[in-house]
Symmetry: C2
């Protein structure tokens, strides 16, 4: 099943975002073996090189650890995962507020709009 991508951020970043969330959510548990580059690339229907770049991003964040040619493993450091979870939210909030202000939208107004939008969704 090919993953779906959207927006204008680079594909590697979008893939890293998704895998990071899966790690944070425990889809790939702490210390467990991580799927192979080629397997993930096939699943996501992207080029192995693209997937590789995404995994390198997660390595640089300490979420993944490469064991030479034995494959990758999810970190066993609960602190790293916990920090990643916090950072994802903090970064997103910061980005969102900044973008909103650039569009002339006040944060309070944005919150109201979000609530109204969600209320009108099934």
């Amino acid at each position: 099943m090919a993953w779906k991508f959207e927006g204008n951020s680079p594909l590697t970043v979008q893939i890293a975002d998704r895998l990071r969330r899966d790690i944070i959510d425990g889809v790939y548990p702490m210390g467990s073996d991580f799927p192979a580059v080629r397997a993930l690339a096939y699943e996501a229907a992207v080029n192995p090189n693209t997937m590789q770049k995404a995994l390198v991003i997660l390595e640089s964040e300490g979420l993944l650890i490469t064991h030479g040619t034995t494959g990758r493993v999810v970190t066993t450091d609960a602190e790293v995962i916990s920090l990643a979870r916090v950072r994802v939210r903090e970064d997103f909030v910061k980005k969102t507020v900044n973008e909103a202000l650039l569009l002339g939208i006040e944060p309070e107004q944005l919150c109201e709009d979000i609530r109204r939008y969600c209320d009108n969704q099934p």
Copy 2:
């Protein structure tokens, strides 16, 4: 004074976003002459071709009108500007909620985070 750009969205889109907001906010009043392509390009410190593309976007939205070789003019249709104002907010809210869900952030949680973030800002 060169404008500042950030993020990974195309430059033309970012320029269009800024000019759209300026039109909505009345920086360029309804029916007024719009600055020349070259002048805007110089001000923003981008290539005239890039600025041209951004202006074409705003034309396609009906916010700008080209008068042949006499220059551009801001639309005199208040309805168009009003609709643009609404659409900017709606689109942003929609985009924000979708991105948040992709990161595993619930909209309500996001609203709280936004409030807390803004309270901690000067």
